[in-house]
Amino acid sequence: MAESIVQYKDVHKSFGDIDVLKGIDLDIQPAEKVALIGPSGSGKTTIIRMLMTLEEPTMGVIDVGGRNLWQMEKKGEWVRADDPHLHSIRGDIGMVFQHFNLFPHMTILENCMLAPVLVKNESKKEVKATAVEMLEKVGLGDKIELYPAQLSGGQKQRVAMARALMMRPKVMLFDEVTSALDPELVGEVLEVIRDLAKEGEMAMILVTHEMDFALDIADRVVFLNDGVIEEEGHPEDILVNPKSERLQDFLSRFTVNR
């Protein structure tokens, strides 16, 4: 087995008195596609938000490429990670949000160019060429001069994906990326993710309620319930032949077409 790109070791997270995650152990292999499913409030989104450094774990360790994300060594002791430490690891992670979070004061092209130019100091000319290519890939090559407000939800989400891809992350996180979309726009977004999954080299963690989609593209499905991993395994085993009662109960609310 190759070395994991991401490793959660007994990770806990509480918000005030509420324990959202109660000991998560999870290994992600390079290029692996993992779907996180579970009832709302089960902590799926918190798991990936901690990896994106948007939430700090209350306890436990998250390793990215063998490096401890939230702690760093200083004079032989492990201390809380500072900004430069997080910055040095965060480049390997990308994220697409439920509500897109495009920058409304910039064109689509500028949205895609901003980070590579500022963070990676790449030349504007090269970044622009890559950005145009990337936007063409998600089917928006003719819209690069528009502002986010001029796009449909599905188009916005495709821009958000192109923008995240510009940083060439090793792990891409998808946080319920179709939940805020009108039903008829879900397909075009899933199509782009499916293409990305086929390309292969990037690991993907998808928090999703699209069970058919998870069955289709995931290498592994992880069922989260009440802050713990209740069941995980091959998509067929999890989604078609669930063992635990809770998972059966959860899946009964969806119709999986297989």
């Binding site: 900004d83 949000f97 409304p104």
Partner: protein
């Protein structure tokens, strides 16, 4: 009975001081508002505490007392002289309005949705880059209409400087009236008109900014 051109030519002598105090106060109060507004969203407790104290003191006391304080009390008490009367006036107005306007700066920065910050973190932008490229450009769009309103208020506040002996529009109006009592209505009508004409570009600016700010801001 004085004629209208007579009155006008007297009042015009105060125009320079009014405009000078106005322009300098706008520049200084804007700088103060930006610095104080940014300080109030800082994570450093000392910085937020000190600026919070400044804002509440200057919002909570009257501008006219502040003018007198800078002009008469400080020199008398501590032998602090703040330079010419023009600068005393500009300083008092700027500190007063800077305090009010810093609240718009703070409010607008806090009104930028948290998703914008999260997206910039996900793209690995530094704290400074986040502020400079994502938060402030959007906050500025939100603060502009109210900013315009404050500029108009600053213009009106400049009329107080005659009370510390500056020779502005109102000062010349009062001088003229004291020798031509029967012309009082004409003098003050003309003053109103002149203040309004100076305010026109500021009003136009505010209107324009309202339409600008409707574009390019994240919602939700």
């Amino acid at each position: 009975m004085g004629s209208l051109p007579d009155i006008f030519s007297t009042l015009v002598q105060g125009l320079k001081v009014t405009l000078l105090v106005l322009v300098l106060s706008i520049i200084c109060s804007t700088i103060i508002a930006l610095v104080a507004g940014l300080s109030r969203v800082s994570t450093n407790r000392l910085v937020t505490g000190v600026t919070g104290f400044y804002v509440e003191i200057f919002r909570g006391t009257s501008l006219i007392v502040q003018l007198f304080w800078f002009s008469y009390a400080l020199p008398g008490l501590f032998n602090i002289h703040l330079g010419s009367d023009i600068w005393v006036a500009v300083l008092a107005i700027s500190l007063n309005y800077g305090a009010y306007m810093s609240e718009i700066v703070r409010g607008s920065i806090q009104a930028v949705p948290s998703g914008q910050t999260e997206a910039s973190i996900a793209l690995n932008l530094s704290k400074f880059q986040r502020m400079r490229h994502i938060i402030i450009p959007q906050a500025v769009r939100m603060m502009l209409p109210e900013y315009g309103n404050y500029l108009i208020q600053i213009l009106k506040a400049t009329s107080l400087v005659s009370l510390i002996g500056l020779t502005d529009l109102l000062y010349y109006g009062n001088i003229y009236r004291s020798t031509h009592l029967s012309d009082s209505p004409t003098v003050y009508l003309l003053l109103l008109v002149m203040y309004f004409v100076i305010a026109l570009p500021l009003i136009a600016f505010t209107k324009k900014m309202e339409s600008v700010s409707k574009k390019g801001v994240a919602h939700g």
